[in-house]
Each structure stands twice: as structure tokens, then as C-alpha cells.
Amino acid sequence: MRRKTKRLLLNWRIILLILFLAGSIATLAVKPLTFGIDISGGVALVAQTEHPVDSDTMQLVVDSLQKRLNTLGLRDITVEAQGDQIVLIKVANVSTAEQANQIKAVIESQGVFYMEFNGVIFGTGSDVEYVGIYQIKPDNSWSVPFRISKSAAEKFAELAKGKVGWPVDMFLDPPVNSLMVVPDSVYRLMNSTEFNAEAPEAPTLMERISKAFNITVVAYANQSADEIAGLAEGKDKIVLVDVPQELQSGLEGMNLTVRYVPRNPGESDHQLIVRVLGLYGPYSLGEGLTIGEPQQDVQITGTAPDRLTAEQEASTIYTVLKSGSLPVKLNVVGMEFISPRLGENFKTQALYAGIAALIAVLLIVYFHYRNWKIAIPVASTSFFEVLIILGFAALINWNLDLPSIAGIIAAIGTGVDQQIVITDELLSGERSTKISRRSSVIKRMGRAFFVIFASAATTIAAMSFLLVYFVGTLKGFAFTTILGVLIGILITRPAYAEIAKYLLGED
């Protein structure tokens, strides 16, 4: 008996199990588990880019979002790109619903920023390297200093040479590649020198946006929806500004993307144009920038009728410069907020549920075999398996979220099933062939492991697609399931087989 015990303990499968268990417990002691937002509390947001982007652009989006949220003073932020259109943002330690909504607003207000001169885009948000604190002088003039990248500065110096007083425009989310249908008065204003700062000889705003953004502006003169659709051929969308709203449904019926912008009460043509285009400026080009020398440190200045307006104007442009560093527009398409207190509840619940499920397994297995020598090893092997999965999760900083926990449950479920397969194979041979026991034990184990490998292979094959290709929350589920199955077939199942053989096979 003692010799057999020694042989069991020296078996490499048992040693492997013990090593992994010790490793997991040590890991868990040093590096506590981290939990997902849905357990620890916080807000998870799913944002979608306006159109699919390449991986470089996606990386820019991720970086700038991270930076922007950090400047808000938020901690524990993860920003993760999934596929070519989805960005997952998780912020922990958010305690109220209002705070959660604020974060959402911040992400959505982050627009695509362009700097344009003479119909040429010389910089975007990513060219803004630094924004200084704005200043307001006693005469209600204001200034916002900022630094642009070297390449943008060089491009600008070349464009602006000798063009004192010409208009510099900045845009936040202009309707790129679109057809704008506007009332006649608006059309005439855009085509005038109204937006030319101090240079009547510069191209009009309409010419500039046409060249820079491929925005075509037409005056509304009772055209039918069909006629407008004809004009919009090749454009991404149609922007209807203060024209009869019936046109919208007509155009949408033709499967076109339409944005309808009504005039606000009391809004002037000028204000309407500025709002529709997301225009900041135009700012008049100061003499110092027109000598052809690239300058990275620049500032925007303006004057306002009173201090409050000056403050507003300066802070708006400050915010736009600071936040406008996304290469593509983002929309928040999904959001989930879990209060931290509730998350705490989920955590204890998951723990209780897990323990209760293990006890249930223990009792049911006992009920089936009426033998603690089977029930206890089966339940404890499952418990070891959970420990090893958790240890591994802690080691690689995997955030345990509810789907991950579901995955662990799945792994445990299949684990118990497979242990029962092993047990029954061992037991069923007991009566029949006493003489050739050794060979038959090996044969039966072979058969049990054929079943185990086949079912493990199907699970892994099915889940690996999820892990590699899919976005959203199912990744955690796939990860823990696969991990659990692998740990099962490589470590715990072989060890259980040895223990079961020891306890049942040979008395």
C-alpha cells in the first residue's frame, strides 16, 4: 500500500498537477485577480468608426482616445481596438450614471479636426502637438497658443508665403465629400467675401471647401428629390440646410445618406453656415507667418465684444484643439454602466455560486457511485482546475468578466463529464477481466482518452474562431473555455486518471 502511494506521488502526472497548483496559488497570492467592468463596476463603451479604417489609423484612434481620457483625470482606462471599426473603452471606478454619461459625451464630441488654408488641408488633429492655456487681455482680445507638427508647419509656410491677412480656417467634423443644399441667401453669403478675413482677393469659402473637402454647395430652387439625388452622385451624403424637410424622406427613400439641419430660432445665415460646416474662424493670417519660414509655435487670436464672450470663444477653440485629434469620427454605439457596489455583489455571488456548484457536483457524484473515493477526487480535481485557470488569468492580467466566468463554468462542466467517463471505464472493467487487468486498464484508459481528446478537440476548434475573429464580449468566454479545456486534457485529467486508478483499480 505504502509503496503504491509513493509510486503515485512520484508519477509525473501527479507531480505536474502539484507544480501547477503551487504555481497558481503563488501567482494568486502575489498578483490578485483583476475583474471586468461588469463585475468590478465602471463603464464600458463600444464606439464605432464612421467607416472601416486600416490598422495604423485604428492605432491612432486608440492612442488619442487614451490620451484624451487621461487628460480628464480618469484612471484605470483601457482602450482596445477590435477589428477595423470597433473600439472598446472601459473605465473602472465610475460611481454614478451621470459620470458615465459624461464620458460618453466626451468620446462622441471628439471630432475630426482639419486646418485649411487656400483650399488645402495642411494639418489635422494629429498635427496639434501641444495646446497652451488661453489668455484673455483687458481689451477682451484673446489668444490660444499651440504647437503644430514640423511637417504641418513646413507645408503651411510654403502655402502662406506673402499672403498677409488671408483666411485660415479650422473645421471640426465638416461634411466631407457631400452635397449641401442651402437657401439662396446662404448660398450667396458663402460665395461672397464674408468669410475672407482681410483678403478680398482670396478664394471664397465656397471655393475653399469645395477644393479641400469636395463639398459642393447648391442653392435650393424648388428642385425635386430626384434632381438633388442626381446632383449628389458620387457623394457620401447630402446635407439639407433649412430647406423643406419633405426632401429628406424622399431622398432617404432612395437609400441615400441625408443629414437635415434646420435653422435655429433667430439664427443668422452666418451662424448657420458656421454650425453646419463645423467652422472655427476664419482667422486672419498674421504677417509673421507669411515670410516662408516654418514656425511650429503659433497662436489663434480674436477679439470679442465683452469678457464673457471672449472667454467662451477662447475656451471653445482651446477644447477643439485639445480634443480634435481623432483621425476619424467615432460614434458610441453601446454602453454599459455597472455601479461598483453592485459589482461587489456580483463578485460574492459568483464565488458563492461557484462553491455551491462544486458542492452540488460532489453530492451528485456521490449519489451516483455511493463512494466518497470517487466523489471527493472528482470534485477536488474540478476545484484544482478552477484554481489553475484563475492562476493563469492572474499571471497574464486577464480581466475576468461575466462571460469569462461562464467560460470557466463551461470548462468545469466538461471536466466533470470527462472524469466520469474515466471513472466508468475503470469501474466497468472491474468485474469482467480480473486476470488481464493491467493490459485492460491501459486499453480502457485509451478508450476514455479517445473520447476526451475528441470532445476537447471539438470544443477548442469551435471556440478558437471566437477568440480570433470576433469582437465584443465573447472573447473572454472563448479564452477561458479553451484555457480550461487545455488545462484539463494536459494536466488535471491525466492526474485524475492516476488517482482514480490508485483508489479504484487495484486494492
Binding site: 500500500m1 461588469d38 463600444v46 464605432q48 471599426q85 450614471a97 454619461n101 460614434n331 454605439v333 453601446g334 454602453m335 454599459e336 454602466f337 457596489r341 453592485l342 455583489n345 455571488q349 458563492y352 455551491a356 456548484a357 458542492i359 452540488a360 457536483v361 453530492l363 451528485i364 457524484v365 451516483h368 455511493r370 463512494n371 473515493k373 470517487i374 477526487p377 461575466l402 461562464a406 463554468i409 462542466g413 466538461t414 466533470v416 463529464d417 470527462q418 466520469i420 467517463v421 466508468d424 469501474l427 472491474e430 479517445f450 473520447v451 475528441a454 470532445s455 471539438t458 470544443t459 469551435a462 478558437s464 474562431f465 471566437l466 475573429y469 470576433f470 468566454f477 479545456v485 479504484l504
Partner: protein, 304 residues
């Protein structure tokens, strides 16, 4: 448990197993035609159920707003009316109970501001704990497509692996059909019991692919590879193991379902329970019936 105090008495276990076999003996006596017909009939019924009553899509798949309040016990209809009146938008309210908390979920259409709903509810329940989530229809659509793709790919991958392991058309196809039927019946039951199709329940359906194939593989292996026993003997052996497997898993899932108040975990548990119940029938009647019929027709008694 290194040193058992009492000497093992395998006879006790034997008696239990013998009893179990006797109880399950009726399965072995059933003719394979019946064994095949019943599950097929259930499969058809499930298909019809699906056609008339497909489970509704959860908000994460079709878009919408849901506010959950914990620590609230309320009449759902009254509360829905109260919120709808103040908000000016129709909402649906559902109540739930757990072991240590109960609460309500308020469902509102896309575009509703969840903080507004919370404000309204706070008038009545200032101490409740609130969480909310909202999903735009565009993302719901992406999630839907991905969910369907995930299911299809996972299923195909499973089918390929099963073929590779058995390299035998009839048994492989039967396993694959069983898994399909398990999922179909589980989804039909979801519709019947008003459980929504969400990313979580899709995860559960994916889990079913892994779970249900287990017992089918066990059965097929025992019947095709175990030549020292008669078919009936091998079948009974497999059934008794399978019965233990299923009840153990079902027990654990039931506990999980009872204890958790997380909708995600609850829904996963219940869908798995549906699937495992369906699988019990599909494995031990349908799959076994087909195999018996196949083995009795093939002189060689299975390949390999």
C-alpha cells in the same frame, strides 16, 4: 483521502450501478425505429415553434436602453405606467428575484436617455442601486451578424473535427445532426419561456456545441470500438455513464441559476439546461437508434 479508513467495497458501487442499469433498461429494449422517430418528431415540433415564436432579440442585438434597479420590489405594470407617463415614452418593466436581492429592469426604446429614467425612478426608490446600458441598432446589427457567424463557424469546426475522429459518414452525421437538434430545441424552448437571444445566450449555444458532442462521442466510441460486449451491453454502459454526466452538469447549472442574480449567468445556465435535456434525448435515443440500426445493417459492425 490518501488512506481510506475502510476497505473499499466495490460491491456497493456495483449494486448502485446495477440498479441504475435496471432503471435505464427500458431504453435498451426500445426498438431503433421508435428511438429515431421520437427525437425527430420533437425536432420538427421545435422547428415549428421557432417558425411561429422565435425568441425576441435582446437589446444588445437590436438596440435599446435598459435600466436595472436592484433593491426594488414593485408591481411591473404600475411602475411601467408611472415611468411612461413621466417620460412620455412607452417602457416595459420586468421584475426579478434573486437570493439576496430583487429588482426591476426597465426597457426603453433607442434614443431614450437612461439618466432620465433613473431620475424618475429615484423619486420612488431613492435607495436602489442603478445600472444602465444602451445599444445603438447599428452595433446590434454587427453583434447579430457576428453571433450568427460565430455559431455557423463553430458548428462547422465541430463537424470537421468529428469527421476527422471517426472517419465514418453515418456516425459522424448523426453526431452533427444531434448537436443541431440540441441547439434548435434549446432556441425553441427559449422562445417558449420568453428568454431573449443575447450575446450571452449565443455564448451558451456555443457552449452547447462543446457539451453535447461529449456524450455523443462517448456513445459512438463505445458502440463502434468496444467489440468485447454486445451492442446492448455497450449501450447500457454508455447510457449509465451519460446519465451520470448529464445529471452532474445539470445539478451544477441549476445551482448556478438559483444563486446568481446576474442576468448573463442566469440566462447562460438556463439555456444550457435546455440544451442538455434535449441532448439527453438526442444522444440516447436518436444517436443510439441510428447507430444500432447502422450496426445491425453493417456486417462488419463498424469500421476500425
Amino acid at each position: 483521502m490518501s488512506k481510506p479508513k475502510t476497505k473499499a467495497r466495490p460491491t456497493a458501487g456495483d449494486a448502485v450501478r446495477a440498479k441504475k442499469r435496471k432503471k435505464l433498461g427500458f431504453l435498451a429494449k426500445m426498438g431503433y425505429k421508435k428511438m429515431i422517430t421520437y427525437p425527430l418528431a420533437v425536432f420538427l415540433v421545435a422547428l415549428i415553434l421557432l417558425a411561429v415564436n422565435f425568441p425576441t432579440l435582446g437589446i444588445d442585438l437590436q438596440g435599446g436602453v435598459v435600466v436595472t434597479a436592484y433593491g426594488v420590489s414593485a408591481n411591473p405594470d404600475e411602475l411601467a405606467k408611472f415611468i411612461s407617463d413621466q417620460l412620455g415614452v412607452d417602457v416595459r418593466v420586468e421584475s426579478f428575484t434573486g437570493v439576496d436581492t430583487n429588482g426591476v429592469r426597465v426597457y426603453a426604446p433607442v434614443g431614450t436617455d437612461p439618466t432620465e429614467i433613473i431620475k424618475i425612478m429615484q423619486q420612488k426608490y431613492p435607495d436602489a442601486e442603478y445600472t444602465h446600458s444602451e445599444v445603438q441598432p447599428t452595433f446590434g446589427e454587427i453583434a447579430q451578424q457576428q453571433g450568427i457567424r460565430a455559431l455557423v463557424f463553430a458548428f462547422l469546426a465541430m463537424a470537421v473535427v468529428v469527421f476527422l475522429f471517426f472517419r465514418n459518414i453515418v456516425p459522424s452525421m448523426t453526431i452533427i445532426f444531434s448537436a443541431l437538434s440540441d441547439m434548435t430545441i434549446a432556441v425553441a424552448l427559449m422562445g417558449l419561456f420568453g428568454i431573449e437571444l443575447t450575446t450571452a445566450t449565443i455564448a451558451a449555444l456555443l457552449m452547447l456545441i462543446g457539451y453535447t458532442v461529449d456524450s455523443n462521442i462517448l456513445l459512438t466510441t463505445k458502440l463502434l470500438k468496444r467489440k468485447e460486449d454486445s451492442i446492448d451491453e455497450a449501450y447500457l454502459n454508455a447510457v449509465s455513464t451519460g446519465f451520470t454526466m448529464s445529471t452532474t452538469t445539470l445539478g451544477a447549472l441549476l445551482i448556478l441559476w438559483l444563486i446568481s442574480t446576474s442576468q448573463t449567468i442566469d440566462n447562460i445556465a438556463i439555456v444550457l439546461i435546455f440544451g442538455l435535456l434535449a441532448d439527453f434525448m438526442n444522444t440516447w435515443l436518436l444517436n443510439a437508434g441510428v447507430l444500432k440500426w447502422y450496426l445491425s445493417n453493417s456486417a462488419r459492425g463498424g469500421s476500425e
